[in-house]
Symmetry: C2
């Protein structure tokens, strides 16, 4: 057998920029699902397969694991920001969207624990930046006199709920998260993705 002259990884994407954008979106969605099921160490080949693209396409968009995980996180944070920016957004609604992401996305869970990471400082700085965006989105809507209004209590509560989220299915994790909010005495809106 002969090797192809140009390895698959180096060929330009078929279909131009539109297909490239479509592939990127599909890869992020696939990564989100695979991470949720298998954790952040899931093989990249599984993600490419789920997205219906070759591994070469995956590497063209995301040169390493961190880049792909970062894109998924960024998308999670963007949804929370959009929920917060929606007309008549309520704090409880945004907490519900946040809780959805916490229960749905293993990667996002890790992000909200980022304060505890030791080493790997570049990833940490990135994660802290995303975490601050989540805090800003929530804080803007925090009602006056809310029980999480003081000091760092808002993001502490988010870390506590994230820390308590565990279980084999998303539904198990949602039940744990809602129990945790209840223990904190904090009201949460429907647990669902923004626009979902």
């Amino acid at each position: 057998m002969t090797q192809p002259l140009v390895p698959d990884e180096r060929r330009p994407a078929n279909g131009g920029p539109k297909a490239a954008a479509r592939n990127r979106t599909a890869l992020i969605a696939a990564a989100r699902e695979i991470y949720a099921a298998y954790g952040l160490d899931a093989p990249l080949s599984a993600i490419a397969r789920r997205a219906g693209v070759g591994q070469g396409v995956l590497y063209r968009h995301f040169p390493d694991r961190a880049a792909l995980a970062g894109a998924v996180l960024d998308e999670n944070v963007r949804q929370i920001e959009q929920a917060a920016a929606a007309r008549d957004a309520l704090f409880t609604d945004v907490l519900g969207v946040l809780t959805w992401h916490v229960t749905e996305s293993a990667a996002f869970l890790g992000l909200l624990h980022a304060g505890g990471a030791v080493g790997r400082s570049e990833a940490l700085v990135y994660a802290l930046g995303l975490s601050e965006r989540v805090e800003r989105a929530l804080r803007d809507l925090l009602p006056k006199g809310h029980r999480l209004g003081a000091g760092n209590d808002l993001m502490l509560a988010v870390a506590m709920v994230s820390g308590a989220v565990a279980g084999p299915t998303r539904e198990d994790r949602e039940r744990r998260a809602l129990d945790a909010w209840r223990l904190l005495g904090v009201e949460v809106g429907p647990v669902r993705p923004f626009g979902g």
Copy 2:
């Protein structure tokens, strides 16, 4: 150069069973410190060095990483059980000892998140067994009508506090843990090791 006929790892411990017990204790104490500083992935050679023994001695006592981490966890759990079994033990005191271990030991932190682990089922079963011992120790002392008395709230709260624990120093982590207990409205005794 000639190789020794019997590699260091296979030679019996010098000094007999007493020295062996001393080495084991030193290795567990060293592992606890190294884990706290560098996480569970810290090189075993650093642990042997801190304990003042050769790597061969380490491997004789703990054939792999999991065995050593398991021994550290077991020792943490035993201290909580001893605190709970002490004469006139109070729930708040035992929570203080638990909080000490949570802020001091990266390994122990991971244990209390064990419910969320995916895969590695043998380690998970082991961790859940230890987690149940912690629950039993605490539950026996839970005052009637305590805010964490219902259903699974006790270990949920422990997971929430563990999940919120983050920070570069033990003091930072203790501050976070105490803030988390405060948010939960749960009184905690002095944060210290049992007998410390």
